[in-house]
Symmetry: C3
């Protein structure tokens, strides 16, 4: 413990002792000692983390962010980005340019979210999408350590799993491998090296994809497709990062290679749609679109690919759900993340197996119809 | 190497040289020098690990635990918890209160275990369930380092994989992420922080679930359902741990949220049982329960959920096997471990897909029956 | 930065300044200063890595390996093992004894490779199989740090994923767990401890398996089955490594146990083939072998297990593909890597589920035939 912290602790203790002997202070008089008089004992972990923070050293304490006891209680201790932005102006402005800042609002209109029982949503989508309302999604409270925020593990606490395995793709790439080995961001890039270059909080830096990455159009924050020029500008941003280690030629080649992987991946995905579209025209889908619950945002329609849902559909549609949502995304996103295991083994291979399954299921459904007609 | 170790090594060498010149000692005379005369060369890794152990510093040597050469050979070098308990009395008593201490015995009566060819069982279940007989399952021999034993990786060498991905759920939670980043158990909890609080070796501390976690009833060590009061006492134990960092209100909310996730998960699982139970009543399961090998512990019955097996059943039962054994457990256990990726992506989503598959398979089997009847 | 590097940098700067004032040098005159005059700015990451390398300290610089600017450009900066072997003779000779040295050539004749669109192959198989042509597959350029090359993560950047999860099996074994915990190769083995014992670059050391590990015969570098004696010699090599920590008896028992696991795994795989072979004889496979694209290397034949492909086959064959390619290999290889999670949960369990699916699909195809005949 540094001498600074020791002195600080003594000062705090002094304030604390004074507080104990007096009446509860008015809001404008609340200082760190008032909070600590209870919270050092009630939530020692939080207190300790704050003590180790830069905030503690700079005099930013409980009520600076939590306003007062009642507000903290009513807001369930949430501190909104606007509050952080009072000091961190540049970061807030950048944050608002990226999709992180609309993550909660966008989530709330998704069919997937609406299909989850309301009383358990907090353990599902919300736990990550809350990033819209919480800088401490990445800047883990109450230490707010930059080392923690910049680590791939920090990004990876949300960007992982079957439908967006960014963490897994990075960790199985040479970039991720060398970083894990050396823990040296000069030796190999972390997520933030490329996606929050030079510390920008605009998470759309350098990438030309819209939400989820399962759509063919690339959209901006207002869901409007971006222009060819904008796409090229973003590619140039990214190459600017690659050039820290690689030649421009190499970087361009790698990204163009990934472009082709993306194209081939989407092409294979389209091949998976065809048998289902035909089967649907022939009236063979069970339960039929007329019989079942309408899609919460698309109504009574055959929805293949985004915003297709994982529940209440037929088996053949569900085979496609896995193909588009879990496997297509692995193929093309790991093209850009340079993970052959995800491009090929976990992606392309699974897509090919999906295609076999979809075709055979279509044939089965047709055969069933033929039997019925014979009767 | 500390000066202590150097001096110890010299002493050992002295004893060793003396040993070499004399006849093999009687059992009661065996000391470390006798063992080392061969084993320093034959098993240098083991010797080196022991040298670095606290045991070496305290004069606990080979025969203290392994008794003598014949016993060590006959017991295949296993040292049973009773032996460790001669010194570590409190730990042994606590250990016996938790299910770790009945892991091998319980395993031996499971159908799954009985279904694996006898000659390969050692590479399967036994490698972990042997914890009943081996403190060095966690306290990795022969260094017995506390740092190693307390690490999440130590617990994770058994608590992982499709049917109990505790390691994966922890690692994808914010708790696991911050611990991985900081390696500081004051900053974020490890497995032992919550499940072996304050060093208890009673692994049932604070948790109110029976074996495997796929049953709806919660049982104690004698497989007897525990009382509501006992459940509440255990919840209070766990909140006591949470309060190290969080407010009581926050901890209660989080655990109650997880309770609801568990309920919804089990409800969805029940929805998966229904079509199969109906199909079975209609006599449509193939191979039928009458035709096939009886369940090793349940006999000729439709077994859905624990102790359902993964072999020799029909396709529709196998679809439910995956649903209950791999996916339901991810939903509710990651509710309590705060991993949205496992609750939603790897859990809930997969359960919904399972449900689609089960329903369609039930319809297929019915359609097949209708065809047969028409003939 | 060491004083050595500082002096070196000054010398380089001197050479650099001299270079700038003169005409472009002839090839034989190219020295490090010429390269650095541009590349320190253009590819600072690469320059920095080289500065930290042993090469830099020993006077091995850009053109020592890359020959000259034109060659570097034409070869896309690839430096072939033959070049490295000019100094590292022993390592090159050893490298040539193992399958790493034929990885690219063998890949080029595989049906799987040929089935991937040519323009994206670089992001797939080639990214790993290029090891034949690149020592810096493991010795990550341009630092060529031994710590990096010897790490399990280095091996794991290729040896992972659904069809060869060596990394995952190691990491979930006690060996991998203790190494992760301690980062001490004296405490627990890394991949290279057993497979490149004492630094050999012959990656076939101690193992008696041919490519991929899905065939029952064990072949050498020329695809010729190896003799019983050769197998025994290799077993003895491996036991020699185990003995560093374990007794010979223990090591032999563990490997014989793994032999049995392998046998049982292959036996179960054969059980999966039978229903498909029968179905094929009965002419029930759809699309039939006559109707569909011939196998690129095996022609119009039912190919079950290696070199079976993942595309264009029937659903029942695809079920077997997953069984042999992803699940059988997990069972037996993790037998030798001592990972119960992969042997049982991710392997044996999945194989049993595959078998149920294959049998039911065979029955479904037969039922379909019966219906057709009735018409």
């Amino acid at each position: 413990m540094s001498i600074y912290i020791k002195v600080l602790s003594l000062l705090i203790l002094g304030v604390l002792l004074t507080m104990c002997a007096t009446a509860p202070p008015k809001v404008e008089e609340i200082d760190v000692g008032f909070c600590i008089s209870c919270h050092q004992e009630r939530t020692p972990g939080i207190f300790q983390s704050w003590v180790e923070s830069k905030h503690a050293k700079k005099g930013v304490h409980c009520v600076t962010c939590h306003i007062d006891h009642q507000a903290a209680s009513e807001q369930k201790s949430l501190v909104f980005p606007e509050k952080c932005g009072e000091c961190h102006k540049k970061q807030l402005a950048e944050f608002r340019k990226g999709r992180h800042s609309i993550a909660f609002d966008r989530m709330r209109i998704q069919g997937e979210y609406l299909g989850i029982p309301q009383e358990i949503r907090a353990a599902f989508c919300e736990r990550c999408h809350i990033i819209e309302k919480k800088c401490n999604s990445c800047h883990t409270s109450h230490k707010f350590s930059l080392v923690e925020a910049k680590s791939p593990d920090s990004c990876g606490s949300c960007h992982l799993g079957p439908d967006h395995p960014h963490k897994e793709m990075y960790e199985t790439s040479l970039h991720g491998t060398v970083y894990k080995l050396t823990q040296n961001p000069e030796r190999a890039p972390r997520c933030v090296t490329c996606h929050m270059a030079k510390g920008t909080h605009d998470s759309s830096f350098g990438i030309a994809r819209g939400p989820v990455g399962t759509r063919s159009v690339v959209v901006d924050m207002k869901e409007v497709p971006i222009s060819k020029e904008e796409e090229e500008r973003k590619r140039e941003e990214m190459i600017g990062v690659c050039k820290g280690c690689h030649s421009r030629r190499f970087a361009e080649e790698q990204l163009e290679n990934a472009d082709r992987v993306k194209e081939e991946g989407f092409k294979l995905m389209e091949a998976g749609k065809e048998p289902i579209q035909e089967i649907e025209k022939e009236g063979l889908i069970y339960p039929s679109i007329a019989e079942r619950m309408p899609h919460p945002t698309e109504g009574r329609a055959l929805v293949l690919a985004d915003p297709q849902l994982y529940m209440g559909t037929s088996h053949i549609e569900r085979l496609f759900f896995t193909m588009f949502k879990f496997h297509t995304i692995r193929v093309w996103k790991s093209g850009y993340h340079f993970s052959p295991a995800y491009t090929h083994g976990f992606g392309w291979t699974e897509m090919q197996l999906d295609l076999i399954d979809i075709k055979e299921e279509a044939e089965r459904l047709r055969q069933m119809l033929r039997e019925k007609k014979k009767q």
